[in-house]
Amino acid sequence: MPVDLEKILRPVDNPFAPYPPKVVALATGQPMVIRQVDRDDIPDLLPHVEPLLHHERDYYDVVAARVYSELLGHYKYRYQDQYVLVGQIDGHLAAIVNGRFVNKKLGMSLHTLAMHRGLRVGAHCFAAKMEYHIDIVGQDEVLVVAESPIGFRRWMIEYQLEKRYEVPHELGGVPSYALTRALFDKARGSLIVGKRPVSAALLNKAQAGILPPTDPPKAAPDFLAATRSVYDSTGTARIRKGKGGERHA
């Protein structure tokens, strides 16, 4: 009798309330729509995550690699109870955040990948993720880890997260911290902002399609390449051409 292995390998998602979209006003004055995306939207996200695997700055490579794997796992039904939220500015992808519901009481924050920097885009989307766990689903706490100094500053310091070192996080490695309902309530109105409902025009624009990030993180430009090209093997520049050309001439 044939065995349908897929049925064994595929986790069964539990029903959780969907995340209601909201809009946050950025420092530029532009609105950013934060909304939940479906499994079917994942192929539209992956091409914008992939380039960041090669971005060796601020741990983008590590975070992008993990997000790529989590999104792919979600798309191919290998990740239980995962959700994905995106931030979009004028339809353009600005951030991806994801997490997982461990059970009715405990949430597991996975990653925050900001594709537009300098405007708290990642921080706003992380806040939305915490809001999803605590306010929408009604969980008691969310386990959080940071994989970059920026993440540590944004989550552990800004929210004053509680240590949960004794509880392993699913991402492994670094010690766990927890956002509790009490900490979330404290951050309400200061770190947790935005408004609902999102106007039909804004929401339609966001849902019409995920447009590429307008200003994704790029490799640091090698401003100094031009000078390196005139260095000799000892690392000393040869700018005195035409005047002897020799050092200590």
Partner: protein, 390 residues
């Protein structure tokens, strides 16, 4: 005294530069030497505030000379806190004016991102009074916060005025490819909108995130020369016409009136006297807006506006490009960035650029006289420079 000219300029982007400090300084220097058409100078001054702590390196001027193969030029590192850059230009001016040198390369460089931001703030705070300020945890943002609060109470400056400085300088930085912060901001986003308190959180009350300059890396260079050399180089003749420096008490609380920036006033007065001009003759200025309030206060102390009226002029758009006296066309420290030792030289770079008419989208029309104000400590050591196009 002999006349002194700025004959070459060079700059790196003010941003996070992942290269050794000497390479950053070297890059700006090579560009400036190339701009001037020189391959040797008599003297090198390297402005830097904290390489010993930030980069574990001292005697950076010697390293730079070797790096660029400029031996046997004289070389010295100038450390004068955030005013290191303009202080080094002043040294260069003196060397040429006195006849000791015909050509001087003044380079400013700082690489702050080698340490984390908390440590960078701590390093900068070491310029405060060790026994009456630093020991109590006073940092530059906290001093600026107290200064701002007092200024608001005395003169009616509001958070809106501070935000207007930030918005103007961010807009200017968008026209400067070397600027660190390339983001337009709006009143709604940082002050009026419902989410503004989160986008623009308090740093040191009443100063918020967008009132404070970023921590930057960067290098800038100005080549100074005697009139005889300058006239041979076929560059626009930009004369360093006025140099003024003044000091004030180390600890801010010892000042009779802490909202008076006496050293700024005196340094500017000296520079005007030497240049033989009045504040109204200045067409463009780079002021030291490490905090937004400083642009307002300094614009008054250098004589552009009456004391207590700088914010009103700002409100009227008089400090915008196209206004009566455009201030911080480069984006200022607020948005161009603040690699501490390079800042004063970067200001001179911008003014020479403007006087050459090479400011492109941010060019001030018919700019003939420009001023820089480099503010050390919390106003205890200030250098003011006046450049004039001939």
């Amino acid at each position: 005294m002999r006349e002194v000219y700025a004959v070459g300029i060079g700059i790196t982007s003010f941003t996070r530069l992942e290269y050794p400090l000497v390479e950053i300084a070297g890059y700006a220097s090579i560009l400036a030497l190339k701009d001037a058409g020189l391959d040797q100078v008599d003297q090198v001054y390297l402005a830097n505030m904290a390489a010993a702590r930030l980069n574990h390196q001292t005697a950076v001027a010697s390293a730079l000379v070797d790096h660029l193969n400029l031996q046997p030029a004289g070389a010295a590192t100038i450390e004068n806190g955030p005013a290191s850059g303009a202080a080094a230009i002043k040294e260069g001016f003196q060397a040429i004016a006195s006849g000791m040198a015909d050509t001087v390369m003044v380079t400013g460089a700082e690489r702050m991102s080698e340490v984390n931001q908390l440590e960078a703030t701590d390093v900068v705070a070491s310029l405060s009074h060790p026994l009456s300020e630093a020991i109590y945890g006073v940092t530059l943002p906290s001093l600026a916060g107290m200064f701002t609060r007092l200024y608001m109470e005395k003169y009616g400056v509001t958070r809106r005025h501070l935000a207007l400085v930030a918005i103007k300088n961010h807009a200017n930085a968008l026209m400067n490819p070397f600027a660190h912060v390339q983001t337009a901001i709006s009143l709604e986003g940082i002050l009026d909108g419902p989410d503004a308190p989160t986008n623009n959180p308090i740093i040191a009350d009443p100063l918020h995130f967008f009132d404070v300059c970023p921590v930057s890396d960067g290098g800038a260079c100005v080549i100074l020369a005697s009139a005889e050399v300058a006239k041979k180089l076929k560059k626009p003749l930009i004369r360093l016409a006025g140099v003024g420096q003044a000091t004030d008490t180390h600890a801010v609380h010892e000042r009779e009136n802490p909202t008076d920036l006496l050293a700024v006033r005196l340094a500017a007065r000296k520079a005007y006297e030497m240049a033989g001009i009045k504040p109204a003759d200045v067409d463009v200025a780079e002021l030291h807006d490490a905090f937004t309030i400083l642009e307002i206060a300094e614009s008054e102390e250098v004589g552009f506006f009456k004391k207590g009226e700088g914010h009103l002029a700002l409100e009227q758009g008089e400090t915008k490009i196209g206004g009566k006296i455009p201030i911080n066309t480069s984006g200022g420290l607020k948005a161009k960035g603040h690699p501490v030792g390079a800042t004063g030289v970067g200001q001179a770079h911008e003014i020479v650029t403007q006087l050459r008419g090479a400011g492109f989208k941010r060019q001030v029309k018919n700019a003939k006289v420009g001023l820089t104000l480099n503010f050390g400590g919390f106003g205890n050591n200030v250098v003011c420079l006046v450049f004039a196009k001939e």
